[in-house]
Symmetry: C2
Subunit: 116 residues, 2 copies
DNA sequence: TGATCATATTCCGTTATCGGAAAACGTCAA
DNA sequence: TTGACGTTTTCCGATAACGGAATATGATCA
């Protein structure tokens, strides 16, 4: 039972998971191929335990997959989990160019307001 | 001076700002035009104070602009702030189709591992 | 079995979110 | 000035992320 809500868990969403810069770095790194925890940690300059924790979060939201048992674990990218983010963002692309116009309108409006 | 780091502030990033579902809803709503706080609150079923707080976060990261002084405030979308998110995501698009193949490979691998 | 390497988890303290409720501003009209 | 409306802020309690350090688990090889 939930008593009080604070910020949503990092593991609740791809949106929340990628809010952390280091986790984005991990995903970016994994674009070039699978890697064991140690490599991730070393290449991104973080402690193995930290890397492991971040990878756990990414695994829980399905952005990363663990392959291979035994001593060697390989983490690989599963970018499908980013689709919801991309889809949500897609609705805004048309606004990027337009935003400049809208900013112009805003500035014009501001001028008018101050002149009045 | 920073003593200990917790989760990054919601206002530090577009990434952090859009991690909250209600803030995404607000941005989506504002695609159809500017709105005063009350309207946002009502249309999304949240208290005015909550809406105002969310809008403040969005304003601080530059995703939203405040127009008009006086009693009537109008909040409008400034989607340019989403560009960093889109750009980061862009690097992964090529992987979405590929991810299925990679999943196949993963499953094959799993089979092999379990047979051994 | 015991040592060693690779990963994962737990413990700790600090910080900041989130919602609701209540109170504080700020503006405009009577 | 008083009152009403629209908006923002403050206070509160509960939750949990984050890093580092230490510890635990797990697998492999001598």
């Amino acid at each position: 039972m939930i008593t009080a809500m604070a910020r949503a868990a990092t593991t609740s969403d791809a949106f929340n998971a990628i809010a952390e810069p280091q986790r984005r770095d991990i995903l970016t790194l994994l674009r070039s191929g699978e890697r064991p925890v140690t490599d991730v940690a070393e290449e991104l300059g973080m402690s193995p335990s930290r890397a492991s924790k971040h990878l756990r979060v990414l695994r829980e939201v399905g952005l990363v997959r663990l392959r291979g048992a035994g001593k060697q674990h390989f983490y690989g990218l599963d970018a499908r989990g980013l689709r919801p983010v991309h889809e949500w963002l897609g609705g805004f692309e048309e606004f990027w160019a337009g935003s400049f116009d809208r900013l112009d309108a805003y500035v014009q409006d501001l001028k008018r307001t101050q002149e009045d």
